[in-house]
């Protein structure tokens, strides 16, 4: 089962089985934002409360696979209590980690019918993305790094993050939501 342990790290399974901050917040004052993954039908609802430039509380609900649910749980633990600016940085860093190798990934076997074997530009190769990701800065979130080896699942991992970003935008501009 090579590769699977990269995807399903213990931290991920732990957050999947025992999600942190699962639930709802009264909206308003919180922002309620829905995110959908049209490919698989997964959905996540993020409730984010912003007070004086800080994310004072965050909850999520919805249904999804272990990757989308654990990513939401890890996200909630990472951003709660942080200033919005830092949260935005974290969103950027996380999404960079999820996209660094997306374009150069072949399939798991590195082979394509009718073509030469791929050169195996793997997740450990150097990224050419402008934003260099330091996994240490991500703490537990780095556990999700293995997802990039499974390109189809990247959208699962980023679903709650994109939803949160939308919630922060709305909180800032005072547009829909609450």
């Amino acid at each position: 089962m090579t590769g699977l342990e990269d995807l399903y790290r213990e931290i991920i399974l732990d957050h999947y089985r025992s999600p942190r901050n699962r639930g709802e917040l009264p909206a308003p004052p919180a922002r309620r934002v829905e995110g959908f993954n049209p490919l698989c039908g997964d959905e996540v609802v993020v409730y984010v409360q912003v007070e004086d430039g800080n994310v004072t509380d965050l909850r999520f609900s919805g249904q999804g696979c272990s990757i989308s649910q654990s990513s939401a749980s890890l996200m909630s633990a990472a951003v709660k209590g942080k200033p919005v600016d830092q949260v935005r940085d974290l969103i950027r860093t996380f999404k960079a980690m999820m996209s660094v190798h997306e374009a150069s990934l072949g399939d798991g076997d590195g082979r394509h019918p009718g073509g030469p074997a791929s050169n195996g530009a793997g997740p450990d190769g150097s990224g050419d993305d402008a934003l260099v990701v330091d996994p240490d800065a991500l703490g537990e979130l780095a556990a999700l790094q293995g997802v990039v080896k499974f390109p189809v699942r990247i959208k699962c991992a980023t679903l709650s993050w994109n939803t949160l970003a939308q919630g922060l935008d709305e909180a800032e501009t005072g547009s829909p939501g609450s």
Binding site: L13, R17, G41, E43, C65, S66, G108, R153
Partner: protein
């Protein structure tokens, strides 16, 4: 082999079933699956170092060497654009393309294959053709179409578009707790509708609705009937007369043929009356500054260069299926479905749930699964590592998913090249997923 004509012997005959025992699902005619597997080159490859176990034929089947050879041969020796060419090559291409049309027509029992078989891009385009050409001419504000809760999006969205643009009313046949169509209210629902559009096999549940009965009720009420045959035509012997359909849509790539070609069959009178669908070359008789007159059937509905090599491939696929026999294929799939139901129940008991009719009566070889509370995507991911290909998601049937109360299912589907070892591999991989995602 039907294609390419005049070139018999380029491909070996498909592995045939032994017909020693003829009987019900428990004692089906035996397919020589080992020999059949050898006809499908892709089944010899490995995935993640494991034998490829392909259980996703409901999404797209694989192709035998005979189909690959027919298409390859066509491109190597014959290709030219069809229609209008006066040189030998073009005439040969023309003949192969039109021969494929006749082969398709014969395969589905079309009374007038020469005029009634329209080649499209896929089953989806076939339904869109019917909705756009017949629907726009015949459905007006307040007219009704009866659909079912188990339709694929391809037999929903074209009608939803008409509902949106033309104010067409949509009505729905529900799905009962046995995963079958609820027909208890059909007489009332069908009253006043102009069309009933219904699948002849659910791509999620495997359910085979009593189509000819539905067609009879519909016709009595003055409605036409469209069959979405994408799942049934590859697996069940089809006769449009017996089915009672006025339109039938299906795709080649689910029946051992290539991608890029599908079929709309419709009764000739309907096609004659319908306005053209896509405009362009080939579909016209005359073009003037002030308008055009459409070509004769079937070309009226085939604008632009058609999928010629694909038609040749589809003809070869039908030749392969007929060489084995659709009844033998279906018997084999039902025996395998019964084996899968039994095996999965024995190994996983109530941890595994199948969304679909129990047993093998009035169903196809499609098994939509829920395993404990493991998300279908996670299941599919773990199975992939074991070389087992299944599909996870909503299967383009979101209204049905809502009815089932789930976001997604994991779907395994069988075809003539699958055997009990494939089902065993599925069960083994499910067990692995179970231990990985075991309860805390």
């Amino acid at each position: 082999m039907t294609a390419p004509p005049g070139r018999a012997g380029t491909a070996p005959a498909p592995a045939r079933p032994t017909t020693a025992s003829r009987g019900g699902a428990e004692h089906p005619r035996h397919l020589d699956v080992d020999a059949i597997k050898k006809d499908f080159p892709i089944l010899a490859r490995t995935v993640h170092g494991r034998r490829l176990v392909y259980l996703d034929s409901a999404a797209s089947s694989q192709r035998p060497q005979q189909v690959l050879d027919a298409m390859d041969d066509y491109y190597r020796t014959t290709h030219a654009n069809v229609h209008r060419g006066v040189y030998a090559l073009a005439e040969e291409a023309d003949r192969l393309y039109e021969t494929a049309r006749l082969t398709v027509g014969r395969f589905i029992g079309a009374p007038d294959p020469e005029h009634e078989v329209i080649f499209t891009k896929n089953a989806t385009e076939a339904v869109n053709l019917a909705a756009a050409a017949w629907g726009r001419a015949n459905l007006h504000r307040g007219d009704a179409v009866l659909l079912t809760d188990m339709e694929h999006h391809s037999n929903l969205v074209p009608w939803l578009m008409l509902a949106e643009e033309h104010g067409v009313e949509l009505r729905w046949l529900g799905v009962d707790d046995d995963y079958r169509l609820d027909l208890s209210d059909i007489e009332r629902l069908v009253d006043g509708v102009k069309l009933v559009a219904c699948t002849s096999m659910s791509n999620v549940l495997g359910t085979v609705p009593p189509f000819s009965h539905i067609a009879e009720v519909a016709h009595r009420a003055g409605a036409l009937v469209l069959a979405d045959g994408a799942q049934s035509v590859p697996h069940v012997r089809t006769d449009v007369g017996e089915l009672g359909a006025d339109f039938l849509a299906f795709s080649a790539h689910k029946m051992l043929g290539p991608t890029g070609i599908g079929v709309l069959w419709a009764r000739r009178e309907l096609l004659e009356e319908m306005p053209a669908f896509l405009g362009g070359g080939g579909m016209i008789r005359d073009v003037r500054h002030d308008g055009f007159s459409p070509n004769l059937l079937p070309w009226k509905f085939e604008a632009g260069t058609p999928p010629i090599a694909e038609a040749v491939g589809l003809g070869a696929a039908i030749g392969y299926l007929e060489g084995i026999g659709l009844d033998a294929v279906h018997d084999h799939e039902m025996a395998l479905t019964a084996y899968a139901q039994r095996t999965l129940h024995e190994r996983f008991g109530d941890d595994l749930r199948i969304f679909g009719p129990p047993g093998t009566d009035q169903r196809g070889g499609v098994l939509s699964l829920a395993f404990r509370d493991v998300h279908p995507h996670d299941l599919a991911q773990v199975l992939d590592q074991a070389g087992v290909c299944i599909r996870a998601g909503h299967h383009c049937a979101k209204p049905l998913m809502r009815r089932l109360g789930v976001n997604a299912t994991a779907r395994a589907s069988v075809y003539l090249y699958n055997d009990e070892s494939d089902v065993d591999a599925l069960a083994d991989a499910l067990a692995e997923a179970g231990s990985l995602f075991g309860s805390p």
